[in-house]
């Protein structure tokens, strides 16, 4: 019994003013109080023990967490480095995709430059001949005839200038195509851009596969005017869609050599504050299995080595992230595919 309670008990036992019955009752209560006290003491000791154990465990946990934190920090560093490497690789991939599409264009570009050059050469030779003739007529005193020839020379020179500029434009756009994008939106005639890439893609393909031919249909909305876009990026998107369209009709032609007329249609239109560029073909279409994956990087249905699987995924990024637009696709397997690029203006 605790000494204090013992003192109280002794005091009660020796007290004379209390009856024996009362003494017994009081002493019993004190005993019970003492029992309770020791119980509480026991519990307290147990709690104390638990606390100590917990404290040790907590210390261990803290040490453990500190160790783990270090490991995470290291992992984070490694991840950051990997991310940087990935970004660099992505940039390289974009560049090689550009160069690959430029490669596909080379033959088309050569053809497209050859034609204007032929005109430049021919019209300059003609001008020379005309001037000889003009001198002849002047010597004879036929002023009117000489004037008529002078007009012909003028027309020839205009043609030389026109075709010189045409070749110049092609070289410029080729250089632009391979250059890294400066991400600057500039006023662009989307119809000219689309037509340029349609011709380049077509002649590029023709040069590679001479048996190939397709009807090209165009329907340009002349009311679009200039729109602000990153022209080389959108040019790349259009080129990609056109190249895919040609591929689809070529594949279908292989399956149906007779009676099938490959047709690729490029059209533009302005609806409210949106400009829509549509590239349609009557080729193989896209299977249900492939349709969900076509915008994923590295997905391609072309045989190994023929497609990078980056064309549509890059196009998607250019249109959505770069221009806040959308790419939509409608296709019927075995019949047709139409891609629409919707750009806000």
């Amino acid at each position: 019994m605790s000494p204090q309670l013992q003192t109280i008990s002794d005091f009660i036992k020796n007290s004379s003013g209390i009856s024996d019955a009362e003494k017994e009752s009081l002493l019993k209560t004190i005993k019970e109080a003492d029992k309770n006290l020791s119980m509480i003491q026991f519990k307290l000791e147990r709690i104390e023990k638990d606390r100590n154990t917990l404290s040790v465990m907590l210390q261990e946990s803290i040490e453990d967490l500190q160790k783990k934190s270090l490991v995470i920090e290291d992992a984070n560093k490694a991840l950051t480095q990997t991310l940087e490497e990935l970004k660099a690789t992505q940039a390289q991939l974009i560049q090689s995709e550009k160069m690959a599409s430029l490669g596909e264009l080379t033959a088309g570009i050569a053809h497209e430059i050859q034609n204007p050059l032929n005109f430049v050469n021919n019209f300059s030779e003609v001008s020379n001949e005309l001037l000889d003739e003009m001198t002849e007529q002047l010597e004879k005193g036929n002023t009117n005839e000489a004037k008529a020839i002078a007009n012909e020379v003028k027309m020839s020179l205009e043609k030389i200038n026109l075709h010189g500029k045409r070749a110049d434009g092609i070289v410029k756009s080729m250089l632009q195509h391979s250059r890294t994008s400066n991400n600057k939106k500039e006023p662009t005639d989307i119809n000219v851009l689309a037509d340029e890439y349609l011709r380049l893609a077509y002649h590029g393909l023709r040069a590679k596969d001479k048996s190939f031919n397709a009807a090209l249909k165009t329907d340009y909305d002349e009311n679009i005017g200039l729109i602000k876009i990153i022209s080389q990026d959108i040019g790349r998107v259009i080129l990609n869609l056109i190249t895919n369209a040609f591929y689809a009709v070529m594949e279908k032609k292989k399956l149906h050599p007779v009676g099938y007329e490959p047709t690729v249609t490029v059209s533009t239109k302005k609806i409210d504050n949106k400009v829509i560029v549509e590239v349609k073909d009557n080729g193989t279409g896209i299977s249900q299995k492939a349709i969900d994956k076509i915008f994923q990087p590295f997905f391609t249905t072309k045989p190994t080595g023929q497609g990078t699987g980056l064309g549509l995924s890059l196009s998607y990024d250019i249109v959505t992230k770069g221009h806040g637009g959308e790419i939509k696709v409608e296709t019927k397997e075995g019949e047709s595919t139409g891609f629409s690029v919707i750009l806000p203006v």
Partner: protein
């Protein structure tokens, strides 16, 4: 002699008219122009007896020069008009196909107009 020139490059017309201005003026030669294989066939169907010589580019969108050649040589009244093919790609494949389809001559771009003139005058 009427000659039908088929090429998708529209300035070919101005070029031919200047290159052959003397012949045109002297009425030795007369030129008509079509800008696609389809246009050329339409012209030939409407005025079948007129052109005696066709000068066609091979590489054109839609109906190619070789298809046009096949149409002319297969379906045209006897005797079919002469057809000279012109191409930027003077490769064996094009050449063989053109010859198999009955082309009368095969010229490569850039055209040597003096040579072409000699050839045309020889026919004339």
């Amino acid at each position: 002699m009427k000659i039908l020139v088929v090429d998708d490059e529209k300035d070919v017309q101005v070029l031919f008219e200047q290159r052959f201005r003397k012949e045109i003026r002297n009425k030795e030669m007369e030129f008509a122009f079509a800008y696609s294989g389809e246009d050329a066939l339409k012209y030939l169907n409407d005025l079948s007896h007129e052109a005696v010589l066709i000068l066609s580019d091979i590489n054109m969108p839609g109906m190619s020069g070789l298809e046009l050649l096949r149409h002319i040589k297969e379906k045209h009244k006897l005797p079919p008009p002469m057809v000279m093919m012109i191409t930027a790609y003077g490769d064996a494949e094009n050449y063989n196909t053109a010859m198999k389809l009955g082309a009368d001559d095969f010229l490569t771009k850039p055209l040597e107009f003096s040579l072409l003139k000699e050839k045309l005058k020889a026919i004339h």
